[in-house]
């Protein structure tokens, strides 16, 4: 793992991605105490103000500081993204590896279940889950998003494992009598990082936007607590008259996705070189 980290750092793109991610995390943790109170009385008379020395990124339609809200929204959005993506990638990889390696009826049963659940639109699943629970604490929201996100990953990983199984080195390991867990974790897992990195990158963007979709239905993070997705949604009517109020959280999402992509790319690259 250390070796992987070293290679990641050696790659300029990987280094850039890591630095951006760390900075983002640091910002949303360290900055909020220094920012003005975001729960000010909404001021409809003044409304949205363009960026100025006083408000770095301007203010939104209720005259709330956009920068402060982006930073605070980042806490929620990054937490949701990290939690849900971590959960779904882990689950998806495990199921995909097991199904792909074991084959036979294990594969059959697992994949039928995955296919069936995957066939139900995620928004619908979430809508019902969230509706059934009445209250939506943040933890449950993360769990629900994570629990509905691993299906695609498992299919991807399985496809990759099937491909690898046909290759010489896996056959060799099995022929030499290696234990299944050893084959899975030392031979197969490292070789699926490529597609996994892609899936993770895209999942981060998905999850942040999905939270916005749920807010749209009134079921996501509750206002006035800001989240990036929710902010874009709130600023939707002002895309033309106050573009800064939706551009700022949008840029934050894009930056996060790009940074994760750089890291993921560099990781799979490093893995390929080492493997």
């Amino acid at each position: 793992m250390n070796e992987l980290g070293r290679r990641l750092w050696a790659d300029p793109a990987g280094r850039a991605g890591t630095v951006i991610l760390l900075l983002l995390i640091l910002a949303v943790i360290a900055l909020p105490p220094m920012l003005p109170d975001h729960r000010v009385q909404p001021d409809i008379v003044r409304g949205a103000q363009p960026p100025s020395a006083h408000h770095l990124l301007g203010t939104d339609n209720l005259n709330r500081d956009v920068f402060a809200r982006v930073v605070r929204g980042g806490q929620i959005s990054l937490l949701v993204a990290a939690g849900a993506v971590l959960m779904s990638v882990t689950l998806g990889t495990l199921v995909g590896l097991v199904a792909g390696y074991a084959g036979g009826w294990v594969d059959g049963v697992l994949m039928r279940l995955v296919d069936a659940t995957l066939a139900v639109p995620r928004l619908f699943l979430l809508l019902l889950l969230v509706a059934a629970l009445e209250h939506i604490p943040l933890g449950i929201l993360i769990l629900s998003i994570g629990a509905t996100g691993w299906l695609g990953t498992s299919r991807l990983v399985r496809a990759e494992v099937l491909r690898l199984k046909a290759l010489d080195f896996t056959r060799g390991a099995v022929a030499l009598g290696a234990r299944p867990s050893r084959v899975i974790f030392t031979h197969l897992l490292p070789n699926v990082t490529g597609p996994l990195a892609v899936a993770t990158t895209l999942a981060v963007g998905d999850v942040i936007l999905l939270e916005a979709g749920l807010s749209f239905l009134g079921l996501g993070v509750q206002p006035p607590t800001p989240s990036w997705g929710g902010m874009i949604l709130d600023a939707k009517p002002y895309i033309v008259s106050a573009p800064w109020s939706s551009l700022a959280p949008g840029a934050a999402i894009v930056l996060t996705v790009l940074a994760v992509n750089l890291v993921g790319d560099a990781l799979s690259h490093a893995q390929a070189e080492g493997g």
């Binding site: 039928r112 066939a119 809508l127 874009i232």
Partner: protein, 324 residues
Amino acid sequence: MSGWLLRRSLQAVLTYFVAVSLIFFLMRLVPGDPLARLSDDRPMPPEAIAALRARYGLDQPATRQFLVFVTQLMRGDLGRSIERGGLPVTALVTERLPATLLLGGSALLLNLTLGLWLGAWQATHRGTRGERAVGAISLALYAMPSFWLGLVLAWAFGIKLRWLPVAFMTSPWLRPGASFAARAMDVLPHLVLPVLTLTLVTLGATARYQRGALTEALALVTVRAARSRGLSESVIRWRYAWRAAVGPMLALFGLWLPMLVAGSVFVETIFVWPGLGSLAADAIASRDYPVIMGTTLLVSAAVVGGNLLADVLHRWLDPRLRDA
């Protein structure tokens, strides 16, 4: 092959049955009486409510309701809308289907051609500045909410420039009896903005997967061997690399459909496209559960069918799988 096909089709049917059961029983978890809305804000006597419950079959036990539901489903009956005065859901869904097929089909076609080509170009130009820029832009588009992009496009091309219509599938002035050609010429400009939005926000994923799959394929032993045999790069790319990348790409086929469907809910709403997406959005907003359920069942069927198709194609394109 035909034995395999039969087995695989049976699997698909089984999968769909599991999905249907899942949808049905998840629906039962939702608390609250779905008919509560019907009483509006005026008092309604209990007998009238009981009659309504009987009409929608809500007075039966869950297992019995499930049996009725499955039998009806097999006859193509999706129940009745609560919000829309008891209209059959099947009728609602089928009248909206063509619009969604047109929008989704155009977007999927554009997504695949552009995305696969873009990903291939990226894979063969890895590490160049142009490739990085293209990669970043397509990812940025992917990370953009579809409603945001749609509204910006509508503002620019519909309101500022007035080049393209901002809503609906046909102009309100189009006569019902218009010829096919006239109808097509009317639909075309209406199609541009929603398809563009839907394609742009999903393009990043296709390109990114294609780039990854092709990069790996190009590094494979067989491809390296071919290269060492002195085959030209373009031959290698087409004969070996694409073929090796086909498997992982097809595995994704089942993922594109839900992605397009999810995207189309917002895009159809913004552009008032009279398809399933806007129907579902309306139904969700009013919690018209039979309609939510009907659209979901249809999408599920499309996804299961899409996966089946992907598997069949995969097997046909990749001979190694046939003896597996």
